[in-house]
Symmetry: C2
Subunit: 355 residues, 2 copies
Amino acid sequence: MAGRPTLAAVAAAAGVSPSTASLAFSGSSRVAPHTRDRVLAAAQRLGYPGPDPVAASLRRGRTGVIGAFIGERLLYAFRDPHAITLLDGISEVLGAHGAGLLLLAGDAGRPSAEQIARLPLDAAVFATCGLEDDPAIPLLRRRGVPLVGVEGPVGTDVLIDIDDFGGSRELARHVHDLGHRRVEVIAMPLRLDGTTGPVSGARRARTHYRDVRRRLAGVEDVFGSVPIHETASNSVADGLAAGRAVLGVPAERRPTAVIAQSDVLAAGVLQAAAELGLRVPEDVSITGFDGADLHWLGDTRLTTVEQPTAEKGRAAARAAMALVAGDRPQDVLLPISLRIGTTTGPAPRGANGHR
Amino acid sequence: MAGRPTLAAVAAAAGVSPSTASLAFSGSSRVAPHTRDRVLAAAQRLGYPGPDPVAASLRRGRTGVIGAFIGERLLYAFRDPHAITLLDGISEVLGAHGAGLLLLAGDAGRPSAEQIARLPLDAAVFATCGLEDDPAIPLLRRRGVPLVGVEGPVGTDVLIDIDDFGGSRELARHVHDLGHRRVEVIAMPLRLDGTTGPVSGARRARTHYRDVRRRLAGVEDVFGSVPIHETASNSVADGLAAGRAVLGVPAERRPTAVIAQSDVLAAGVLQAAAELGLRVPEDVSITGFDGADLHWLGDTRLTTVEQPTAEKGRAAARAAMALVAGDRPQDVLLPISLRIGTTTGPAPRGANGHR
DNA sequence: AGCGAGTGTCGAATCGATTCGATGGGGAGG
DNA sequence: CCTCCCCATCGAATCGATTCGACACTCGCT
């Protein structure tokens, strides 16, 4: 009688069997109100805090915990409003189901195998990491953990997706229609190795992230091969650095439009343009992707591809809950739309000469 | 033999007892290398993914999951770089220990009691919610879950704290020394009821958040009673709204200095000042609190009180791990320091008349 | 009064691993 | 050659609840 009271102790105190006590706590209608009250009173008296979640999980086979993988370290991932909104959507649905959200981030890139093996999970969502062959996937798969992928990884049970290619192409066409011919793409990391700068064809071909690859393809579908500048991570700071590199060149070599692969990167490029005294969109057009809420931009409205980020999160969470329940939910393809803002305009005259 | 293989099945296949197989997986030195290899080979052969975490948790009495309470909904909490940095610090330490971070947010303000009762937790950190008497605290306490508080809640086992009062007072003194006499505070929510606008004495006295209260007291220690404008949440948007209200009045009633209770709010006030054509710091001085990394401010360096946010998170996580291990860690008081930036300057002449 | 239906409670098996104390065998020392 | 000790392995209890099928009792109907 040293430790915390158990359900058995409560049952004994209430003069019922453990099974009845359990029924009383689970709110089953098969127990008489009178009996339930007696059990609850006994629990109150003994200071019993309710059934032990771990024991219940073992027996039930479900823990009520859904894991969310974020490719990077928390600090970096959450600099991105898009990632936060996505996670908020997930959290919203999970909360409504009484489930918990377990964050899986890594010190050095991703959660350790040990961590994955030791944590109780009913299902996992690959949220902000489009790594196509994340090593965690087979690990979890072997453990029988249902997997939901968001816009990226392969080998999951369900995929929540958007038309990256189509959206990117539509955006590129808009830029093309404005007369731009010298464009440059500022890309999110193509692989997880910290490389930055101009991207060679070989590296381009070995792009590790599906969303990155598809967005590139959309642009290339319109412009053909375009110069790509890779960033170390998807952040304003890296967008700024890339923007400086791409825009800080003699005017005749400077692109007239910069297509950033995310709004966060675009925000950095906007900063770089401001630093260099370039007017947007008169001197240079800048586009993003995501339709994130960049509150600090003030009046500037970024031309971007808007995706229903929160809904993407919700859909992912719903799919995860469905998988846990044993259903086989459908893949989801969410609509996206071009949003034309104030950061794109006609290409400057005479700027479209040779390159 | 239908479901996933169990440790017992592996043991049988390897020709050893379950206990030995368990030892082999836990990496105990008490098992012969030869035997371990045999067990591991059998596991490989059967596709055994390693010991079930839930069963292990039940037996061990520990789940390896630490909960983090964030007062608000994810979306709002993570708009604040300070909150993210704090959580990153927590995540860093937990990751190093192979523990997981379970996010506890709420649709409507906080996690439901049901959720708290059902989730497996070894300990919990009250991270970004300074609510002094959060109803979750007694709930968890009854369940025997060790609690760590960050700068706020009472009734936890360990408190990770900073000197809000001292820091705020030092900041206020700096403002006072610059000659400002007409100052106004823009406060984070005093209570969780969505009220905004000027704060009455009665409401001031019923401040629910400890950090808010202490920061107020620091200012009042220097300036005496000052007008307070309460915001609906700690966000740039609400800071902007408050800034408009406070600064958008005739110059003779306008404060010469605005003391915002967080950097995020201050960022909003800066925006409001810009909108109203007020120069900072010539026309109005603006201060923040936290020392967050507001990358979008460009050259503007906010005068603020800098706190070691990441270290606060790490300290909280270390305390949580220590509590789980059965230790009784000490409370932690972290140092803070005034950081004078470019947003404070001498009070405009002749502005300090009657109010 | 007898029978069937329905309701409330109970027993016992089960979820899957961990761990302590016991046991057996082999090697070293006398 | 015998004994003592140590090390690797094993048995069995345990963690705390859930759940299925069985059982007893009551009520209603004929």
